[in-house]
Symmetry: C2
Subunit: 255 residues, 2 copies
């Protein structure tokens, strides 16, 4: 009987190659198969699905051990996935994991997140993928995020994912997470988004900041609700953004 081939797992993030969340994730899945990491050479938070089209992108090999190869990349998280799949990996990976991000990527943050952007990119390229985030900047204990991340990653390796779908996992920064809930993307937005300041020359500058406004605090299906109750929240996402019911309604606008 042929030995089953070891899974090939591609890892990236948006906090950069030096981030603790990345190294904790790698430690957690190190024994699963062949791990190839391409991560940004610096923090690229809030990069969404941005791509680098007007500058050349560089890769630097940082480490090569048995079953573990690490590169840093001057590009965005999405560039990292594209480069890995198009140029570095010899075959399509069995799974792409993006994270573990330091900070929440729940609710509307899926739109802004480079961590989620990388998972969406893998999905576009036909590869099962998962974004993992620890919903706190202050805690740097990734134990529970690694535990739940591994749970979901194993489920994906066993069962696959339907085409055009990826998964977004957020884990609260508490010692004992209660369990995993499958959720929807919480409706809401960021308010009071800027802090106005002056540079040393007295010229005005704006710093992005703000507070999340939850438009459906009582929706027990939403990821914000699950997180607030001490659960890890897993939201299935799709890359087709078409608002199908409107396609019909808007027919009256054709000309």
């Amino acid at each position: 009987m042929l030995k089953r081939k070891k899974p090939l797992i591609f890892v990236t993030n948006d906090d950069g190659i030096q981030a603790k969340g990345l190294s904790e994730l790698i430690k957690g899945i190190r024994s699963w198969g062949e791990i190839v990491v391409i991560a940004p050479d610096r923090m690229r938070s809030g990069m969404s699905s941005a791509i680098t089209s007007s500058l050349p992108i560089r890769l630097h090999l940082k480490k090569k051990e048995e079953d573990l190869t690490l590169y840093s990349c001057t590009g965005t998280p999405v560039d990292c996935v594209k480069l890995g799949v198009n140029e570095i990996l010899e075959r399509k990976p069995d799974l792409v994991i993006s994270g573990i991000n330091h900070g929440s990527n729940s609710a509307i943050c899926v739109i802004y997140s480079g961590t989620v952007g990388a998972a969406l990119e893998a999905c576009i390229l036909g590869i099962p993928s998962l974004a993992i985030s620890l919903t706190s900047y202050s805690s740097d204990d990734f134990t529970q995020a690694v535990k739940y991340g591994k749970w979901v990653a194993e489920k994906i390796l066993e069962n696959g994912l339907p085409q055009g779908r990826t998964l977004n996992l957020n884990v609260p920064p508490i010692q004992k997470v209660k369990g995993l809930k499958i959720c929807t993307q919480t409706k809401g937005y960021w308010a009071k988004e800027f802090q106005k300041a002056e540079d040393p020359a007295g010229k005005p500058v704006y710093w992005l900041t703000g507070a999340f406004v939850n438009d459906e605090p009582d929706n027990e299906q939403s990821d914000e609700w699950a997180l607030s109750q001490g659960y890890a929240a897993l939201v299935p996402l799709q890359i087709d953004m078409t608002a199908y019911p409107l396609v019909h309604t808007l027919k009256a606008w054709e000309c």
Copy 2:
């Protein structure tokens, strides 16, 4: 009888404040009401919904005439919308238009596009919005894109848009566009994405390039199909990326 208040229209793009597509759009809607423009100070294509969180953002007033104010901004297209709505405009605009982009934002490009990112951002902030693109880098005749953009913009001003929905308009670079079709986001992806080269020191660099692969060339509902037939293609998009059918299926993964 009270005079109806002039509409307030906010305009941005991702090609930058100097782009012809932006000035042609402004010319086309100049008489409609009060126009406020905040656009990136340089080309920011492929920026998706990226935000600037680690650097201060600057605004520069470029022009102030009756009913027309223009600022350039050091941030991304999404930053431009956030700054406009949070800091510059005295009230919520009646409409946000992003464009006219020079190059296609059909199919999966909605995920990477800064033009679409800005329209999505307005939608997140509860403002009716529209992204407009001319599907060619070589043609710079924006006449038809302005014509169809105005058609759709007027429909939005008359009828509004449902919450959480925005519109993505692509117009082909032909002299006589046949009409407007309401479409779905074409399924597909970009292949052969990099050109490997060497810098002057002989070190390898990667340039993003590639070709779009259409996974559903016969789908007459898709935006790529409409464009290929000489129609302008309007796709309604939604900011909720939840893959709802999967929420049910994945319940078995809860723990």
